[in-house]
Symmetry: D2
Subunit: 112 residues, 4 copies
């Protein structure tokens, strides 16, 4: 079994042991991702780009793990194949950001 | 090679073809996750929990894929093993949310 | 003096007594708004729409006040007149969402 | 009438002309603030602190106005006096961040 499925299975097991699937509707799972992303960002607030590179790695691991956890739970709930949707998105982004136009610039595709 | 590493490699290849690693500092990658999470949430805004379950699956796949993409890029940049940090977080959450106390309730650990 | 300017002045005084203007660049102030907005949202996570209406009002006041505080500090830093920019935005939204098209629907303007 | 109340009245008028109060429950209004805050942040993504100061002022005004609009609508819906809750929060923050301890440092109160 691949790593992504192993993680989803562990997360679902954790959820079901606590009878939490009743709370895990699509809308609230998406909200949870957003809240965890904000907690990750809080580690960098008021810090320069350089200082941000020095943030405590254990805190970073925990907050990033939370983002992954809810993202994986949402993917699992919706029956999405994470590998497939990410590869598909890379392909689409390749069309929106062709190398020759986007190389070395951070402009959005609609400004290229 | 496992699925997670395959995805990180593809994302890094995409990034490097465009010479974008100069923009991908830790702080901005975290910010990008947060912005993509908000775009995911926007699909559910003003919708009831029931209506949220009916949102267009293709849009959902794209927005969730974006959250995964930047999360994987950040994990890759920091050298984190995604499987390891998520399993570690599940373990810690098991201590914060013991089954007997947290079963069937959505309370935060500090309110249990 | 109007209420908005009174609040900005108090916030600037608080900031300057602590010599915090060095941290309050535009990008980090915007990030702070986003983080406070997430803390506000956390009060509603895993709650139904009905349960959300019953959340502790004091917590709500505090989190919403934080969103206002950083929004006002950012407006003050950029020299924006809050009344003017909000009235201007209402006018623009009136063009994007004409009453006859948008009445009773939560669709985005590009889907009307 | 003070500026804040004028804005809330205009926003409520705009909302009621469109029969939108049915969508504006507390939870979704908070979500809307968060989404608008992310759009504000997107203006700064991949930009250095210095570049962020040069972002187009009109875009900034629009995105910040959106954050204010939903924050004011939420305050209005909940019957909060914005001036009062912000002044109250400044007072509380003064206790959490006494000048002598917090001067010149961006540390959180629990790390001071």
């Amino acid at each position: 079994m691949n790593n992504i499925q192993i993680l989803i299975n562990e997360l679902v097991k954790f959820r079901d042991e606590r009878n939490w699937s009743q709370f895990h509707n699509t809308k609230d799972l998406a909200l949870a991702i957003s809240i965890e992303a904000a907690e990750l960002n809080e580690l960098f607030l008021w810090k320069t780009t350089e200082e941000a590179e020095l943030v405590d790695q254990n805190k970073l691991k925990e907050e990033l793990a939370d983002v992954f956890a809810f993202s994986l739970l949402l993917a699992g709930k919706l029956g999405f194949d994470v590998k497939e949707i990410v590869l598909e998105k890379i392909k689409r982004n390749g069309e929106k950001y062709p190398v020759e136009k986007s190389k070395g610039t951070a402009k959005k595709y609609n400004e290229l």
